[in-house]
Symmetry: C2
């Protein structure tokens, strides 16, 4: 969800500007881990409303809707670190991805417990343990790292071309 | 979680008594599906606080704590039908099972997406799709049904004897 459907970088940049007046630019954050790029990120991520008002990543809604005609899609989010996010994430999905039924939403801690055929994720810690096909969704924090055996995709149009 | 760690029957009986004055007795509910046994159950389950104040099933805490010395335990709860329950369930687990780290909590809709070695659950709809060993935790709604290939356990002492 975060970094694949929800534009968490955009949201963190917005929160940082609002709270400290510091303006960060996405293009300066390439190659940095999120914790380095956003020292106040964990504080913001635990605020009620942070995930509820996050922008949607470009083409995610249309592509996922199209994919859902051909695949059974589960939205799996590592949300448990931020308990204040749980209901926000549910309602965010209900607003933007209302074609995904509640049965297919998973809010978890560690994604090692998830099975499926294809996993699209921006973090190696999730993809590395997955049994099926893996797609590494590019985000600044993984942009300068080795693919580690995963296929890198840069946007939802690429995913569409691969999977449809 | 529900019907295995949390005594949802006890909580539904309490809510029914408080809301309508009707006193239900667990022993009269054997063999009935929950939806039949508790016609107002879905309404109660969607109230804030319902899952937060549920009683814990006997011996669940001590046994799970002991098991956690030998197994990696994930708590997987089909919570998504009741979005008001999400944060309540997180905080309930944090109160009663604080030895389970947040990384090992999963709140989902459909448990078909879960993998693991052993699943303990009171519902066939969850156990029937699981790839590993399955333990059917007895609750009134499943008490008169065929085991459907799962091993039936009646309480946490039985689970302790099986797994330790």
């Amino acid at each position: 969800m975060d970094g694949v459907l929800a534009d968490i970088y955009g949201q963190l940049i917005r929160y940082e500007l609002q709270s400290s007046g510091t303006e960060l630019f996405r293009e300066n954050l390439y190659g940095q881990d999120e914790i380095v790029a956003f020292p106040n990120g964990r504080t913001h991520a635990n605020e009620k409303g942070f995930f509820r008002t996050a922008p949607v990543i470009e083409d995610a809604v249309d592509t996922l809707k199209e994919l859902s005609q051909h695949y059974e899609i589960f939205i799996v989010s590592a949300a448990m670190e931020f308990p204040n996010s749980l209901e926000d994430k549910y309602h965010w999905l209900d607003e933007h991805f209302d074609f995904i039924p509640w049965k297919n939403i998973v809010l978890c801690g560690d994604k090692r417990v998830i099975r499926g055929d294809i996993m699209i994720d921006d973090h190696f810690k999730n993809l590395d343990y997955f049994d099926g096909t893996t797609l590494l969704f590019e985000q600044p924090h993984n942009s300068e790292k080795d693919n580690n055996g995963h296929r890198r995709v840069r946007n939802w149009k690429e995913i569409r071309d691969l999977l449809l």
